[in-house]
């Protein structure tokens, strides 16, 4: 017997270390116990974060991945442990977040026998992963992990699942880690042909009212500085999607606002006035386009995109620029003429002033009695650092925080965009904070969403991650209530909540706490939160029945955006 052989479980950990994974977010259980046993000897090389639920583990891994740009890693046991990861996988797939999820599986001879905690997680996770595999032999573990990391982080990133049977974890094998650099059936970076660049540049150069939309692809492609240089040269106004937010500083003179159902007035409305639409690393989500039959029909569309399946999926591209947007932008910058579009940008500013007058003023500096979500964000802006990270959940608070938070740098926006996963924020904030304890991480969350993963307050307590939790409590599932008010004749069917004493709960988890229900106390409370060195829980009782505007109702066109 060769004593250089090690157990499969140890190969799992050594492979993760070889991939420079700093954190594992996980939860132990029967079928993954050998891996946890191996982990005991590697605590100095890799940090395991014990969450309170597997969903918390995967959302934390997502938060970490979004902020760090690295692959998030999470581990769970078979059966319920594995199925609890599914929501996070679906979320990571639609939001292109690189994850490697490792699950334990029952002994390979028990597969298909309905063994204890057996579930077909490879089958279940198929539509929720970029790639998945079941490993039943010890010699296949390291290659599967290597392939998984390569797939997760290359091209358009996404989650992968590696399901490892318990017998493979305990079997002995050699460890010889070979990183995966190439898979013959997988071409993550299509080459950008020069002819297409010429075509795009020609369109841009003769455009009278060019308009640029940027999405998370700019962040994932690390093309932020190229985007800025392109805008500096061309003078084109630019608007962001929810996940593209932060790729360009909101102080940039060409920045005109946010797209989508609850985005800004001008950028939505003027989509139907531009003559050339340049979209970069975004996928024309229905929340962005509204009625797609009435979306930018007058414009020639140039689509810079890495994923071939996104080209023409929703909006037909006149000039598809398939490839890495960083490369495409660099080539385009060479070919576009130096220009300015003051008259065109002025059209945005006029509408922006209109939105400020009708909506923004009342949102962030209200005169009515009840506190608004917007004014809480205004005070956060007052005290936050430039590189503070905002993590939000899903619903009204998410849209308000996104609208009013002052984003200055990239990777400062972490939210569940495509899937709209309530319960995302709290664990994702923990993951974001773990990446860098010195960065401010503000978790803005609603009273509905926080209760979906509230147990993760325990993980924050245990890790002492100095997350600032800001609970905007209106005792309602506010976004659903808003829809019920506007589209369901105010029939508030199961949206009002009898809530617990959140302060007592947070105190129970050792958070420093503060509760505000008067405007006069708000500013001071926010200021105190930022100076506290450690986990902080600020509950703000906000107006019960406020609505988020502007709004593009489902089925409406972007030009039918309502200010009230």
């Amino acid at each position: 017997m060769n004593d250089s052989k090690i157990r499969g479980a140890e190969i799992v950990i050594k492979s993760l270390v070889a991939e420079n994974a700093k954190f594992i977010f996980g939860y132990p259980g029967g079928a993954i116990m050998p891996v946890y046993d191996a982990l005991y000897d590697y605590m100095d090389q890799i940090q395991h974060i014990l969450t309170r639920h597997e969903q918390g583990a995967i959302h934390a891994a997502q938060g970490y991945a979004r902020v760090s740009g690295k692959v998030g890693v999470c581990i769970a046991t078979s059966g319920p442990g594995a199925t609890n990861l599914i929501t996070g996988m679906a979320d990571a797939l639609i939001d292109s977040t690189p994850l490697v999820c490792i699950t334990g599986q029952v002994l390979s001879q028990l597969l298909g026998t309905d063994a204890f905690q057996e579930t077909d997680v490879v089958g279940i996770s198929m539509p929720a992963t970029k790639w998945n595999i079941q490993v039943r032999r010890v010699e296949d573990i390291a290659p599967a992990i290597a392939k998984g990391f390569h797939i997760a982080r290359s091209g358009r990133p996404g989650p992968v699942l590696i399901d490892i049977t318990k017998d493979a974890q305990v079997a002995l094998g050699d460890f010889n880690y070979v990183p995966c650099l190439n898979i013959r059936s997988y071409r993550p970076y299509p080459k950008v042909p020069d002819s297409v660049i010429d075509e795009a540049a020609a369109l841009i150069n003769k455009a009278k009212r060019p308009y640029l939309l940027y999405g998370q692809g700019v962040v994932l492609g690390k093309a932020e500085s190229q985007l800025k240089a392109f805008l500096d040269k061309t003078g084109i106004p630019a608007a962001c999607t929810l996940l593209g937010t932060g790729a360009l500083s909101e102080d940039h003179p060409n920045y005109v606002g946010k797209l989508g159902m609850h985005g800004n007035y001008a950028p939505n409305l003027l989509t139907n006035k531009c003559d050339v639409l340049i979209s970069i690393g975004m996928r024309f989500d229905d929340r962005v386009t509204g009625d797609v039959k009435r979306y930018a029909k007058q414009a020639k569309v140039i689509h810079l995109e890495l994923d071939p399946a996104e080209i023409d999926k929703i909006v037909k591209a006149d000039v598809p620029v398939l490839g890495d947007c960083k490369v495409s932008l660099e080539k385009l910058i060479e070919k576009v003429e130096k220009k300015e579009h003051p008259e065109w940008i002025k059209q945005f500013r006029v509408l922006e002033a209109e939105e400020k007058r009708v909506v923004v003023g009342n949102d962030i500096s209200p005169t009515k009695i009840g506190l608004t979500m917007g004014e809480v964000i205004r005070h956060i802006n007052e005290f936050k650092a430039d590189d503070a990270i905002l993590v939000t959940d899903v619903g009204q608070h998410q849209m308000v925080a996104w609208r009013y938070f002052n984003y200055k740098t990239t990777r400062t926006q972490v939210t569940s965009g495509g899937l709209g996963t309530m319960g995302f924020a709290l664990p994702a904030a923990l993951g974001a904070q773990l990446h860098d304890y010195n960065r401010e991480v503000i978790c803005v969350v609603g009273d509905g969403g926080i209760q979906m993963t509230i147990q993760e307050l325990g993980t924050i307590m245990q890790t002492k991650a100095p997350v600032k939790v800001v609970l905007l409590n209106n005792n309602f599932l506010g976004m659903v209530r808003q829809w019920q008010q506007l589209f369901f004749d105010k029939r508030y069917s199961f949206t009002e909540l009898d809530n617990p004493d959140f302060i007592k709960i947070a105190e129970g988890y050792n958070f420093k706490v503060q509760k505000v229900d008067e405007r006069t106390d708000l500013r001071q409370a926010v200021a105190e939160m930022f100076v506290h060195d450690g986990p902080y829980f600020l509950e703000v009782k906000v107006e019960k029945e406020d609505n988020v505007f502007p709004m593009i109702a489902t089925g409406s066109s972007v030009e039918e955006i309502r200010l009230k």
Binding site: I151, S185, A309
Partner: protein, 166 residues
Amino acid sequence: MKRRYTISVFTENFIGILSRITLIFTRRGINIDGFTASESREEGIYRITIEVNTTEAQVIQLSRQIEKIIDVIKAFYYVDDEMVFQEIALYKIPIESIDAGLEVVIRQYNAKIISAEKGFVVIEMTGHKKDTQDLLEVLKDFNVLEFVRSGRVAVAKPMVSIDKYL
């Protein structure tokens, strides 16, 4: 406009690849009319032929989504004119039905009896769906006990080789 398309997929031999491919259709509520899989000329590379009745815009999207699967090497789509294809059909006929008329039908359709068992014979015919369906209609007078038709096997007329994508 909807019409018949054949999607020809070249894949690695990877467990689960068929599920991943069919999920793309089920998710969009698109019926698969025919499905066959076999090893291709290249060892280890599988060739899957899928028949579907849909629009060109949709078949382009389907092909791109299929190509997006990590272990798929390439997906091509064709209309019938761009392919040479064939299907096989088997008909099970009871012994009592056999008479001189059946011989005429078999000759007429260029079909053949491939097996004679106690109590029944099995007739085989290869051709396009229309032809095998015609034969089924005719054989109904002979009391068809069972009928089965394969998915389409097809080769493309355009001279594009998969080698180019390896």
